[in-house]
């Protein structure tokens, strides 16, 4: 079978293939160096960082559930500065071989702006930034910042002023079509989704959550069919590129996202249990594209028949 051109453009972020990593499941790339060729990926997205370091939530922070896991890491991060000190050299070198995407975390519009401004200054090697607008918004009563079109577009509008580099906006699994349109309108260059789905797991013997908080985020194969549907909704709602995320374990799972219209995909939990999963997904995705007889992966984008 002949080679398929796998290169794509995620809203100005050049990707030599569509496979990206889901924030928070891939450390800052370096952790995988011994176990796979990180530079072979289309992009690498690191853990979300804020202007100031965050401690995140107390233990326990994870619990396994049927075909997935719950996490309540709570966006623990060393802060943009701390991250750059520790991983800057590695990521700068990596950026010569693949696109490095830095994720921005915040609890308020100002925090997003501050973190992004720091990134813009300290990470000249970043190909673009991802705004994680699904973290708890302390300044607005604990609801997720990205859970309303108004909240989401406010963050994006303000962040848009801060950098000229591409902005990917990562959506929560809620009210997807409305919020996707709102963030495109506000200046996003691309959208990624889904973040984890809020969920619960209770130890019925002790009557307590298995985690340190009542709710936590569900990821893994359990959420895949829901994630594909939401990605389809997003692709139908916007004209900017979309990166599909949720329960990708195989190239076929990734292919579903491409078929509903996604430009790229991110591998999440799979990398935690099989470190080189993203590379396998990439290989399988390429094989599928070949089997479909196309010369460019973009011919399959949105090629879902319905």
């Amino acid at each position: 079978m002949s080679k398929v051109n796998m290169a794509v453009d995620l809203g100005g972020i050049p990707m030599k293939n569509p496979v990206n990593t889901a924030s928070g499941t891939f450390g800052f790339g370096k952790q995988f160096e011994n176990m796979m060729d990180v530079s072979a990926l289309g992009a690498v997205t690191g853990k979300g960082c804020s202007a100031q370091p965050w401690p995140g939530n107390p233990q326990p922070r994870m619990h396994e559930v049927t075909s997935g896991m719950l996490n309540s890491v709570g966006l623990m991060n060393p802060g943009v500065r701390g991250m750059v000190e520790k991983y800057g050299d590695y990521l700068e070198a990596l950026s010569g071989k693949t696109s490095v995407i830095c994720q921005v975390a915040g609890h308020s519009v100002q925090e997003y702006v501050d973190a992004l401004a720091l990134y813009d200054e300290l990470t000249p090697w970043a190909a673009g930034f991802e705004l994680n607008i699904s973290c708890p918004n302390v300044s607005k009563g604990g609801a997720a910042m990205g859970s309303t079109p108004e909240g989401a577009s406010e963050v994006v509008r303000e962040c848009r002023q801060v950098t000229n580099r591409p902005l990917v906006v990562k959506l929560a699994p809620t009210r997807v079509p409305e919020i996707a349109s709102a963030v495109q309108e506000a200046g996003a260059d691309a959208i990624s989704l889904i973040n984890t789905i809020p969920a619960m797991a209770i130890d019925v013997d002790t009557r307590r959550s298995y985690l340190s908080r009542p709710t936590a985020g569900l990821s893994g194969p359990a959420i895949h069919p829901i994630a594909v549907r939401m990605a389809w909704e997003a692709c139908n709602a916007v004209t900017i590129p979309v990166c599909g995320i949720g329960g990708i374990m195989t190239g076929r799972d990734a292919a579903e996202f491409i078929l509903v219209g996604c430009t790229a995909v991110s591998v999440g939990m799979a990398s935690m249990v099989e470190p080189a999963a993203s590379i396998r997904v990439l290989r399988e995705l390429e094989q599928w594209a070949q089997s479909q007889g196309v010369s460019d992966i973009s011919e399959l984008r949105g090629a879902f028949l319905c």
């Binding site: 928070g24 499941t25 891939f26 450390g27 370096k30 952790q31 995988f32 160096e33 011994n34 176990m35 853990k47 370091p53 401690p55 995140g56 107390p58 233990q59 326990p60 922070r61 994870m62 619990h63 396994e64 049927t66 075909s67 997935g68 896991m69 996490n71 890491v73 623990m76 893994g220 194969p221 939990m269 990398s271 935690m272 249990v273 099989e274 470190p275 080189a276």
Partner: protein, 263 residues
């Protein structure tokens, strides 16, 4: 968190399992690449086949490794689905693990006498340590805490390694001192001159021992346990509070100086 240096996905074959005590298993694994690298206190993250709904690996310390045979022995308590499946894997089962992971026990220079405290399944991670101290010609005492006399494990092995003192505590008093290991460790750290105390077991036990050591002015190291999503620094699910901020049990630990841990 610092990146692991030599962790890899390694193939492994189950060589056999046998009960060690009620609800406790010892299992022998063939994994030459691990056997020749793993250090006391390090662990690995093993994939346990048999239930495709459960994706996460299980973190395991080791009891002993034989680099010449390429084998590693583990001991574990059956506490949930994963350990139940692990206990039932037939000889010859092939799977894989990620390892070696984490930082192991450290040995202060000039150490001459150490106390090792193992509670419950925490005995496993200190067995390899005892072996190492024996080879280093460090005198060591062992306190083992068990729920009941039948759950005292590896007694012969500990004696054979040359433990200069071996104390047992049981929750129900069916053997040795009744109570938790803390019941005897207080006296020991006061009367014996330990250069180092090593402890692994339930969190309250380790906290208690850390407190006793702090009071006695004896350095103490503990091996901590948390749920782990990845085991190699990728996910931050294992982070705990320390005086140096959050640290990852998988890559910064599992062994920590007790003084560093905020209990």
């Amino acid at each position: 968190m610092s990146a692991p240096s030599n962790a890899r996905v390694l193939p492994v074959t189950i060589l056999g399992s046998e009960p060690l005590a009620p609800g406790f298993m010892r299992t022998s694994l063939a994994c030459p690449d691990l056997a020749c690298q793993i250090q006391p206190g390090q662990f690995f993250n093993i994939s346990v086949p048999g239930d495709a709904r459960e994706l996460l690996r299980i973190p395991m310390s080791y009891v002993g490794a034989d680099p010449s045979q390429g084998t590693v022995e583990i001991a574990f308590r059956i506490v949930g689905n994963g350990t139940r499946r692990l206990a039932g894997l037939p000889t010859g089962t092939r799977t894989d693990l990620i390892g070696p992971l984490g930082h192991g026990w450290r040995y202060p220079e000039g150490m001459r006498r150490a106390l090792i405290v193992g509670g419950g399944s925490g005995v496993a991670p200190v067995m390899a340590l005892a072996g190492r101290l024996a080879r280093m010609d460090v005198e060591f005492h062992v306190v083992q805490g068990a729920r009941t006399s039948r759950e005292v494990i590896y007694e012969n092995e500990i004696r054979a390694l040359g433990a200069a003192r071996f104390e047992v505590t049981t929750d129900d008093g069916s053997r040795g001192t009744k109570g938790f290991p803390t019941a005897v460790v207080g006296g020991l750290v006061a009367s014996e001159c330990y250069d180092q105390v090593y402890a692994c077991g339930p969190q309250p036990m380790m906290r208690g021992i850390a407190e006793l050591c702090r009071k006695a002015g004896v350095p103490c190291m503990v091996s901590l346990e948390t749920g782990m999503g990845c085991g190699f620094g990728a996910c931050a699910t294992c982070a705990i509070d320390t005086v140096n901020g959050k640290r990852g049990v998988c890559v910064d630990g599992p062994v920590f100086d007790a003084e560093e841990v905020i209990w």
